[in-house]
């Protein structure tokens, strides 16, 4: 390579000559001094002298515990259980306040206002019973757990704990034939699978990147945490005495998240031995130093960046979905509404896998965003169960604190099996359309994108089917 025309070697030498005067004569000594200082510091940190107690190094001490083969995993489970327990026990109260405000107060006021202005009944239905209620529901169900869970999660991240979790899992990923960095993209997936898809860019090998993308869906995302937390609280927590309820519900959510990790390993293992065979590339992960998290700053940014972002996304999808739900519940074909027709059509399949037709319809409506599954389920359940006096008519969502949410679901034929299988299906089903679109953009492959949608969907049906059959066999 020849030196480029703009700067010739002689220019450089002239510059160096001129600069040499500026940097001063003692520059050489200073340079040596800093070299020795650095060497001294590094040696000092690494060497323990005789008789001297090992220098207390907080980072190293914490690392020894949190990444130890024996305690690391246990500690990880405990820590996440704690996070969910705090979320579950604190979310209920604000959830109730918001629902009193949005649904008990504003909703009737809006209806009254619309009637007094003289809205046509269908417009009032679509806008207030559809769009407004769906949105209000999403806000009251999702905002409180998110506003508690995300800051806690972000605190763990800022403190430096998440890289340790990735470190604990890194080896396991290598063992199943995937890239160790998949532990990082999975961590991203726990926030949002679409973000997880993009984060797989850190994996150089296309084979291992594809594995990471296909399995990213098994990392529970923002849209699904609230579903898990809600169902665990009202069905699983209710199985035990009140003082244990929060803890048991938290354990159930952690259990589902761990199952997701296990499924990630299993599918990675399978793919790396079949269609995505190849060598494992190795890498090493640096553990960044622990930093004391700036608590207020973290809470602020996680509220802005994550909570508001996710909530906004949920609202954007919930508002049109609310209109759609109202329409399918009110537009009649023959003597049945479209919703009834769909639900009856899917019900046999739903029952077979321990769910029901309502849930399957909800999952179809919620393809753009997992966030609206539960509101849709509730609304459709009310419609199907023909509950009167709760909603104001077909396709109307209504106030729902935890007790009445459970009452509605039970009235809709929900059992413990339905709850468990819904949690399983929420973990194992097709990724949302945003995630799939992101994957398509990243890979440019229709085939793999389709597989990424189909594999978890088929697995979800298989898992819920097996659980339902075994459950029914045992419980007679």
């Amino acid at each position: 390579m020849k030196p480029s025309a703009q700067t010739t070697p002689n220019d450089i030498l002239a510059t160096a000559q001129a600069l040499r005067w500026e940097v001063g004569k003692d520059f050489h000594e200073k340079l040596m001094e800093s070299l020795y200082t650095n060497a001294n510091q590094i040696a000092d940190r690494a060497v323990t002298r005789p008789g001297e107690k090992p220098r207390f190094d907080l980072d190293r001490t914490i690392d020894r515990v949190v990444t130890s083969p024996r305690w690391g995993f246990l500690l990880m489970i405990l820590l996440f259980t704690l996070v969910f327990w705090i979320t579950i026990s604190l979310a209920n109260v604000p959830s109730r306040w918001i629902s009193i405000l949005l649904i008990d107060t504003i909703y009737p006021a809006l209806n009254a206002a619309a009637s007094s202005i003289g809205f046509p009944w269908w417009l009032q239905g679509i806008l207030i019973d559809g769009v407004y209620l769906a949105t209000a529901w999403v806000v009251s169900v999702m905002l409180p757990p998110m506003a508690i869970f995300f800051p806690l999660f972000t605190l763990l991240e800022d403190f430096g704990y998440l890289p340790r979790v990735a470190f604990n899992l890194d080896n396991a990923f290598k063992k199943v034939g995937a890239h160790g960095k998949q532990s990082l993209s999975m961590m991203m997936g726990f926030g949002c699978n679409a973000a997880g898809m993009i984060s797989t860019r850190i994996i150089d090998s296309p084979r291992e990147r594809m594995i990471a993308m296909i399995t990213n869906n098994f990392a529970l995302c923002n849209g699904r945490w609230p579903t898990q937390i809600l169902i665990a609280t009202i069905f699983i927590g209710a199985l035990v005495p009140t003082y244990l309820a929060g803890f048991v519900a938290a354990m159930a959510v952690v259990g589902i998240a761990l199952l997701g990790v296990l499924l990630t390993f299993a599918l990675s293992w399978y793919l790396s031995r079949t269609s995505l065979k190849g060598e494992v590339s190795s890498f090493s992960l640096e553990l960044p130093p622990y930093r004391p998290p700036r608590i207020l700053h973290t809470i602020y940014t996680s509220l802005i960046d994550r909570t508001i972002f996710v909530l906004w996304r949920a609202i954007v999808f919930a508002a049109p979905a609310g209109a759609v739900i109202w329409l399918v519940a009110n537009v009649q074909i023959g003597d049945q509404s479209i919703a009834e027709y769909l639900i009856n059509f899917l019900n046999p399949l739903g029952i077979l896998i321990g769910l029901n037709g309502v849930i399957l319809v909800a999952y179809i409506i919620a393809i753009p965003a997992n966030e609206i599954v539960i509101p849709t389920v509730l609304m459709l359940t009310v419609l199907m169960a023909g509950l009167t006096g709760v909603g104001e008519g077909a396709g109307v969502m209504f106030e729902a604190d935890l007790a009445s949410t459970k009452a509605i679901l039970v009235a809709g034929g929900w059992t413990l099996l339905t709850a468990v299988n819904l949690m399983l299906f929420s973990l194992v089903h097709n990724p949302c359309s945003t995630t799939l679109y992101t994957m398509y953009k990243e890979t440019g492959s229709r085939k793999w994108t389709a597989l990424a949608a189909m594999i978890p969907l088929v697995m979800g049906f298989a898992i819920t089917f097996i659980v339902a059959q075994v459950w029914r066999l045992i419980s007679g």
Binding site: I12, L19, A39, S282, F283
Partner: protein
């Protein structure tokens, strides 16, 4: 650093730096990788050399002007490694001929891996050399030798901490009794094949006026020799009035290095990667 379309093809291609090596009098006949062995005197460097080359060693001695450079080889995995034992030195400032030989080999020979043997009982003094080597090349493995002796002195060296602070693999060895040599071979091969990516920590705590001067020079160097792997170090040497480096700039030898700069795989800036021991 320039992005290469396929980093691996260059690193693993046996031809990638033969031109410079043969200029330095090295016959690259049928070797896949070149390993340089550097270290302070009396660190057991020759013992490590003998342990690495084992029985297959065929040592050739080069009659230099005053010092000799020993050469040997070994096979590991299915690759053949040529290993060059550099003169033992305390620094790479090229104030003496042996230092110059060692430095020129690391700089212009661009070995695939430079193994720096350090004496675990005198870590601080030995690290001066390691830090200087790290200024020139990324691909370094630190061989922490004489750990048995250190233990006898009651010294404990935390090699994980050391590896983290330096940003390159650190392998503890007792070369005398072949302790840790297999691990060393594996680590060398990992760095040579690019399986392990080194990310040496470089210190930039220089005074303000120097920082500015360096910036100007580095910019010019980058312009004249795009892709030069160690522009900062070259700039420092130029400011220091290092005749050999001035000559290398004048003759355009640096350009050869720039052209062959080993490509670094893209690393996500958010995820700092380094090697563990």
């Amino acid at each position: 650093m320039s992005q290469h379309p396929n980093p691996e093809s260059c690193e693993t291609c046996p031809m990638h730096n033969t031109a410079n090596l043969s200029k330095l009098g090295l016959d690259m006949g049928d070797w896949d990788y070149v390993i340089a062995l550097a270290g302070n005197p009396n660190t057991g460097k020759s013992t490590v050399f003998n342990a690495l080359t084992g029985l297959r060693q065929h040592t050739g001695n080069w009659p230099g002007k005053t010092v000799t450079r020993a050469e040997g080889g070994f096979e590991f995995g299915d690759k053949r490694y040529k290993i060059v034992d550099l003169p033992g030195t305390y620094s790479l400032l090229a104030t003496s001929l042996d230092e110059e030989i060692a430095r020129d080999f690391i700089l212009f020979g661009q070995p695939d891996v430079t193994v720096v043997v350090v004496d675990a009982t005198r870590l601080e003094r030995n690290l001066n050399l390691v830090l200087q080597v790290l200024e020139i090349t990324d691909r370094v493995v630190v061989c922490l030798n004489l750990i048995d002796e250190a233990q006898r002195h009651g010294l404990k060296v935390d090699e994980r901490r050391l590896a983290r602070d330096l940003g390159v693999p650190v392998v503890p060895t007792v070369a005398r009794s072949n302790g840790g040599i297999n691990n060393l071979l594996q680590t060398i091969s990992d760095v040579a094949t690019g399986k392990t990516v080194c990310n040496p920590r470089r210190f930039k705590n220089e005074p303000a006026e120097l920082k500015q001067a360096l910036q100007i020079l580095i910019e010019q160097l980058d312009e004249a020799f795009p892709g030069l792997p160690n522009a900062r170090w070259v700039a420092l040497r130029l400011l220091d009035g290092d005749e050999r480096i001035i000559e290398a700039v004048r003759k355009g030898e640096l350009g050869d290095l720039a052209g062959q700069a080993s490509p670094t795989p893209a690393i996500n800036p958010d995820l700092k990667l380094e090697v563990s021991s």
